[in-house]
């Protein structure tokens, strides 16, 4: 197809289209979440520099929140690292799922490793949605532009709002926090590629309270492993029966 016809100018156009994704509703929602995170860190006693450094190097809000919690509970570096590792395991299947969508035989390995740092829920969901209309050779450019601007814009925002983030009116703060699950639910549903993924979502939502009750420290991991495997197996069975 077009995979041999890589055009540098066209790649830059897709890069800037990726950058333009900063002005979309999902991106604004992510920014609100980071303002909330800045307030959390300030309350927890982190400095501005530590907060920005943490947000940029980890670049996954759940893992960030877990690390703040570990520091607050005076955990050792090993306990903290283990908790963060458990909360970040989902990034492995997320990276595996998205990489083949933007890889061509000519893509350099180092490009993919660098871009993988941008794999986080918002950019991942947006990429799966948008990639359908982007020619494959230009998807890395688009993803780099989008991931790069998300990172930069949110680090800047954290730095600017650090002092005021915990002084939002409570009703406004509640509305901000609630945008995240609403947005994730609908966009994840919309980006699902096959019946198995919809099934995985439903099972995952239903299993969470059970695993939270059984093992609150590992609820996300267990829900993901069990829910994802059951949904996959059910899909295989349905296909084998020729449905």
């Amino acid at each position: 197809m077009t995979e041999d016809m890589y055009d540098g100018a066209e790649a830059w156009r897709w890069f800037w289209r990726g950058v333009a994704q900063v002005a979309t509703i999902p991106s604004v929602i992510l920014m609100f979440a980071f303002v909330g995170f800045a307030g959390l860190c300030r309350d927890a006693g982190f400095t501005l520099a530590e907060t920005v450094f943490m947000a940029g190097t980890i670049w996954a809000l759940p893992a960030n929140v877990v690390l703040v919690g570990a520091v607050l509970s005076k955990a050792s570096i090993f306990t903290a690292a283990l908790s963060v590792a458990l909360s970040s395991i989902r990034l492995l299947p997320m990276a595996v799922a998205i990489l083949p969508e933007m890889r061509t035989p000519k893509t350099r390995k180092v490009t993919l490793y660098l871009l993988s740092h941008f794999v986080a829920i918002t950019a991942w969901v947006m990429a799966l949605e948008r990639f359908r209309v982007i020619p494959k050779p230009y998807r890395t450019a688009f993803f780099g532009g989008m991931g790069g601007i998300f990172l930069l814009a949110n680090l800047l925002l954290v730095a600017v709002t650090f002092e005021i983030a915990d002084r939002l009116p409570p009703l406004f703060a509640a509305a901000l926090i609630f945008i995240t699950p609403l947005y994730f639910l609908f966009s994840l549903w919309g980006s699902a590629r096959e019946r198995e993924s919809h099934l995985a979502m439903v099972i995952g939502l239903l299993l969470t309270p059970l695993f939270h009750w059984l093992a609150p420290e590992m609820d996300i991991l267990l829900t993901g492993l069990v829910g994802g495997t059951v949904a996959f197996a059910a899909g295989r069975l349905a296909r084998r029966r020729g449905q």
Binding site: I77, R90, L92, P93, A97, P100, S116, I121, L185, W189
Partner: protein
């Protein structure tokens, strides 16, 4: 070796790198490595997608069922109703994410506002 174990100005940053960056990016890098070794039509990729989807679903469910901060005091039934209404609007009204978000927010914020301003 806690976050405040050493007075050195570089220690908090080293702590964040070792306990935050490393155990997060290692999964992304492993993902790139594995993705390079599977065929694009392989069932393994479908499994990767269902695992990733179920993990994110668990993150969503936790935000709704066990919220922290400003949402912690709101009724569970209200948060579940707002999610359900939002999903209904999303699915039935042209699959636009922002419509579902607005519907859910109107119910949540409307109820919280009324419960603060209307005497019981």
């Amino acid at each position: 070796m806690t976050f405040t174990a050493y007075d050195a100005p570089w220690w908090p940053f080293l702590f964040i790198l070792l306990a935050g960056w490393l155990p997060t990016d290692i999964w992304r890098f492993l993902g790139v490595y594995f993705a390079g070794h599977v065929r694009e039509d392989s069932a393994f990729l479908v499994l990767a997608r269902t695992l990733a989807t179920a993990l994110v679903a668990a993150v969503i469910a936790k935000l709704v069922l066990y919220p922290e901060g400003a949402l912690a005091g709101s009724p569970l039934a209200l948060r579940l109703s707002a999610m359900a209404l939002g999903f209904l609007v999303y699915v039935t009204m042209g699959r636009k994410v922002y419509r579902g978000v607005i519907a859910g927010e109107v119910l949540l914020v409307g109820y919280l506002w009324l419960s603060q301003h209307v005497p019981h």
